[in-house]
Amino acid sequence: MNFIHAYYFSLFAVVALLFIPYLGVRAGLEAFFGIIIPYLAFIAFLGGVINQILKWARTPVPYRVPTTCGQNKTLPWVKRTIRDKFENPESMLYVIGRMFMEIVFFRSLFRNMRMELRPWQKYPEGGKLIYWSNKWLWIGALAFHYSFLIILLRHLRLFMETSPSFVNLIESVDGFFILSTPTTYVSGIILLISAIYLLLRRMLDIKLRYISLASDYFPLFLILGIGITGILMRYFYRVDMVAVKELTLGLATFHPTIPDGIGAIFYIHLFLVSVLFAYFPFSKLMHMPGVFFSVTRNMAGNNRWVRHVNPWEYTPILFSYMEQEDLYRKQMKKAGIPLEKDIDLEE
């Protein structure tokens, strides 16, 4: 499958997904798309994620192999900065610190740089490699993930009778930047922009285009679809929010109802979200729970003073000292190397 195929396939798949609930609602299948599909999706999500996490958790970690990005703890006087302590953690406490930096600030992506080979006539070979810091992916990824998180948290209000105070706080901060009625949430705009950036990057960078699969484009289109339908619903079609909340609260409290008068756009939005949830456990989106299991990041660099035990370690065929001495006893004796079984060379 080449780039064009992967790209269009994903795009068409998402467009096709838009039509399913649209046609369904017109056929009077609100209950199917408003209740059954969301429940099924949620079950698939929960079951799939738990299953995958259990699979990882059950697989043993035979060796302690952290990637060390700072000075190891050795002699007490050997200089170690705070950065070294986090990037080559000596104990669980620093491991937690390292994981925190990785998950909250995308530490490793922050390191990102670009390489370029420039013609350089001063060097006899005529070329010079230069590297420069490249933070665009880091910024794009942070913007994408955090706006997504904020939007997700904002949606909690739909699933609770009274929204918790932190949700109110998030909403007021999120709505602070653009003054309008209804309140414009900046997170939605950032999500769309960053998703488009991630998409364009994949399409325009020839290296990325070469490595990208349909399963890289599909979730991006899907999330774009979710974002766009969400924005349309909130700012343009102005669906009846009271009715929407009745439905979502009904889902959350296991008393599902289908109130009248919610536009098709809502069902489209809900369907895409359901697809995302159902798709999540079987896709690369599992990097979210997966990063917690990454053995090169979540283990301490303390191998030399804390023993690590491999549950399945076995004894392979070994070559003993005596086997070697048996092979070379005479020559070793001649060379004056001590032996276990001495011999007399005269014999």
């Binding site: 990882w56 970690v61 070379y328 070793m332 001590p338």
Partner: protein
């Protein structure tokens, strides 16, 4: 040996990926970019499956009848035994952060050497046979059938990875190509695909004791020759022991250090240092190899070779073990040895007999790196050093991949360098420490027939050496790895011929002032010291 284009030609790197999707492109075996197939005799010595004669360029690799079944079974076995492997198969998002971090991609431009794509070669098989989505959706889900062409492609690219872990530093999830390469090579071994350079070294290490096939008496002969050299140059004759029971310390060096220049000078450095200290230590003809060639392609083989070190320490009744300057060796000692062959409860927590320093950081492995040992000596004022004896040397320091990214051993060698020579310059920040570049020949790829790949893979490192050479007049690349000392000379000869390669303990020995030494006019290589150039005309 394949002929390598000139540097000015080689540096014209085409890195535009081809138009066809990568799954449809067969691997094209380019002369100079692959290693030869292993001879059956090594496989027989080591009990590896399917010893047979075959050649990489043959159409038919003489694979076992049911190779696919064996391969997939081995794959599943690894998925069930290594969380790393299963996780790395599942969570990559193909963000591309690793793409231009690999030295083989930088120097060669082949898109399948972007770590992400090299890993996708394995992932595509994983998805096809071990995931529901891959079984259902095939290529759409990034899955593909395992065919002989796919197997050949895996061979080609898994032997174009030197397990340096640089990609894993930059990956937001810490996905480590080195881990996948080692396991991938295990899968290839399961159907009888191995390379000669590794298997010959492993086979030799296994029975004779060293990768060059030198049995104990030959090892002793070589070391005796170094002692003659030391005596001639410094007036001091070291007195190393072999297989001596009751010594306090077992010293294990990489066999590269007694194989060829310039590693041999590092070995002479060890010997002179031990003589200076009167260290109660012994060498062993059984544990004569620290560098672990088995680990390049197999966890099990790594363990089988590494076993000798603890086993010999127990037989000889030493208190603890001292290890020489070596890269992969120290990854193994740091991250695997105790798990594989420990607990070393028959040894004592290492204490330097000279300074009394307890190496608490090595309290379970019981093995100390010679650089921390020497750094401790210098810190405690136990070595009389004349830095000016290294004035003809303007070194920079190459962080070897494994001590850097699988240990975090940055400061000790630098501390020693600062104390034994006057002119030290670092290479650019993005090319050292955890971001260091591989020599281009690590993990068993330093076969002669693989020369073009090695020159390409070594470009980023050599180019940084070029930078400090032009800017500061750096004329030596110092390092703490025996593979480095073996492969940098041809690499630098190719890219930066003005720069030599040197081990840290060679510089230590140059600077070390013995109480009864003869007047030192040359270094260990018989090169005149600064101020004695005119007296020496017949030596290089």
């Amino acid at each position: 040996m394949a002929s390598v284009p000139k540097p000015v030609e080689l540096i014209q790197i085409e890195s535009k990926p081809p138009d066809q999707p990568w799954m449809d492109n067969k691997a094209e075996f380019k002369a100079g970019a692959y290693c030869n197939a292993a001879l059956p005799k090594w496989l027989e010595i080591l009990d590896y499956p399917y010893p047979r004669r075959w050649s990489v360029t043959d159409d038919d690799w003489n694979l076992p009848e049911n190779w696919k079944e064996i391969f997939l079974k081995a794959f599943e076995d690894r998925l069930n035994r290594f969380r790393s492997f299963r996780l790395f198969m599942d969570i990559c998002v193909r963000c591309g952060a690793c793409a231009d971090k690999c030295h083989y991609f930088i120097g060669g431009g082949d898109p399948k050497n972007m770590p992400v794509l090299r890993a996708e070669l394995l992932r595509s098989i994983y998805r096809r046979y071990f995931t529901t989505s891959g079984k259902l959706f095939g290529k759409l889900a990034g899955a593909r059938d395992l065919t002989e062409d796919v197997l050949k492609e895996l061979f080609y690219y898994l032997y174009q990875c030197s397990e340096c872990r640089r990609c894993s530093v930059f990956c937001p999830y810490g996905i480590d190509m080195a881990e996948m390469t080692i396991l991938g090579r295990e899968l290839l071994s399961s159907v009888g695909i191995n390379i000669e350079w590794i298997m010959a070294s492993v086979g030799s290490c296994y029975t004779t004791g060293s990768h060059i096939g030198a049995p104990p008496h030959a090892f002793k002969d070589t070391v005796d020759f170094f002692c003659d050299e030391c005596e001639e140059i410094t007036g001091i004759r070291p007195h190393p022991d072999f297989n001596r029971k009751g010594a306090e310390i077992l010293f294990v060096a990489p066999s590269g250090d007694y194989f060829a220049d310039p590693g041999t000078y590092t070995f002479m450095g060890y010997l002179l240092l031990f003589e200076y200290l009167g260290l109660d230590s012994t060498l062993s003809g059984y544990a004569a190899e620290g560098g672990n060639f088995g680990y390049f392609g197999s966890h099990e083989m790594g363990k089988r070779l590494n076993y000798k070190i603890y086993s010999e320490a127990r037989r000889l009744g030493v208190k603890w073990i001292l290890g020489g300057e070596c890269g992969h060796m120290w990854r193994v000692i740091n991250q695997y040895m105790d798990t594989w062959n420990g607990p070393a409860d028959f040894l004592e927590e290492p204490v330097s007999p000279i300074t009394g320093t307890k190496f608490e950081n090595a309290q379970t492995t019981k093995m100390v790196h010679i650089c921390e040992f020497t750094a401790d000596l210098i810190k405690n004022g136990k070595l009389k050093l004349d830095k000016s004896r290294n004035d003809h040397i303007i070194p920079t320091f190459h962080d070897s991949c494994n001590p850097a990214r699988a240990f975090g051993f940055f400061e000790e060698p630098r501390y020693i360098i600062h104390n034994v020579c006057n002119n030290f310059y670092e290479m650019p920040e993005d090319t050292i420490r955890e971001k260091t570049f591989c020599c281009g020949s690590g993990s068993g790829l330093n076969a002669d027939e693989n020369l073009e790949l090695r020159m390409r893979g070594g470009l980023p490192r050599a180019n940084a050496v070029r930078y400090v050479h032009e800017k500061y007049g750096v004329n030596h690349l110092s390092c703490i790895c025996a593979v480095d000392r073996a492969v940098f000379p041809p690499l630098l000869e190719y890219w930066v011929p003005e720069v030599d390669v040197i081990g840290i303990h060679e510089m230590v020995a140059n600077a070390l002032i013995f109480p009864e030494e003869s007047e030192r006019k040359t270094d260990l290589r018989l090169r005149p010291l600064k101020g004695f150039e005119s007296e020496d005309t017949d030596e290089d």
